[in-house]
Symmetry: C2
Amino acid sequence: MSKKITLEQKVLSRNDILAAELRKLFNEEQVAVMNMVSSPGSGKTSLLEKTLGSLSQNLSIGVIEGDIQTDNDAVRIAKTGVPVYQIQTGGACHLEAEMIRRALVNFDLKSTDLLIIENVGNLVCPSAFDLGEGLRVAVISTTEGDDKPLKYPAMFRSADVMVINKMDLLPYTDFDVQKVTRNAMSLNPEIQILKTSCRTGEGLNEWANFVKNFAHLIVSGV
Amino acid sequence: MSKKITLEQKVLSRNDILAAELRKLFNEEQVAVMNMVSSPGSGKTSLLEKTLGSLSQNLSIGVIEGDIQTDNDAVRIAKTGVPVYQIQTGGACHLEAEMIRRALVNFDLKSTDLLIIENVGNLVCPSAFDLGEGLRVAVISTTEGDDKPLKYPAMFRSADVMVINKMDLLPYTDFDVQKVTRNAMSLNPEIQILKTSCRTGEGLNEWANFVKNFAHLIVSGV
């Protein structure tokens, strides 16, 4: 096992070095980069579908989709008119900085304000892989249970924001918004919390404004 | 990367050897073993909570809970009166045969008919790790989207059964039961499909009967 741990550490440390290089590049090019993580089916793609139209009025955006198989998500995003590139990991359970580096040839960073990376749906492995992002967004849906931050602590400890999605389904579940908030903040007192529903539109303006503010902070170089 | 692949292959092959040994042991001891896999929050623990009472009238059952952190699920199962052992993987994104081997000291296999393993909530990594089980059950909830079998093919290809859970939420989602069935069967034509709701009780008898039949086949040595 010690051999395995050493190799994993090497892979992680190689990823960290490359992520730091990407972060430097993104800063130089003034590109705001957001890494969206969640369980499968929490609604990351729907959140983007619903808000890319409004976001792209003020920002030049690119999207990188990460999936094990299929280009379903890229097809959905392409319909919004925003440039999108699909990474198919072919089995790998997370995106790595090297995959992002290779995907960047598909974007003109000089004219991009905001690069959104939608990670593989997995609450475990993506938490350990820095992609050079400036903002990590963990999406959780109200049908997943309010204990998830405690059960998947690395993800919620490393996230800047927790988006509680599918608020429209709240009345039909035992999900307790206060409890999930407490659970997330017990791990990460600085975490910001937004509540959204892609069906009713609840919170979508707040989410779009939040993303705009993040991008403007980076693009204006504040 | 080739070094990494070789090491991963070694880990998998070591796991396969150990899983084969476990399978032999389970056959000798006539223990039916079921490995439950799903996304976080699909309702694996709730399915067990709702049906262990009925199942344990006819069967002597043990449960192994796999989680990265917390013993929340073991606490929930213990309330049903069924013996349960919690494996905390401490970061690992899946259970491995070696973890199961070590956990077995907590059970008297000679007097156990059915051992239920609830895997870490992760639709990716657990698919590659045989635990010596006789039945692999993939649980998907109606809120996760009907495209999930295509996006996480290894899991649905390796499963014997797909349980579509949270059927009570179906009217509030775009989930198409026929479509998810088609998607799963396109990967795995032999997969059996059950539909359940832990809130309304829909399909719970069928689920319990299915598990009983599986256990009786093994225990009676047919």
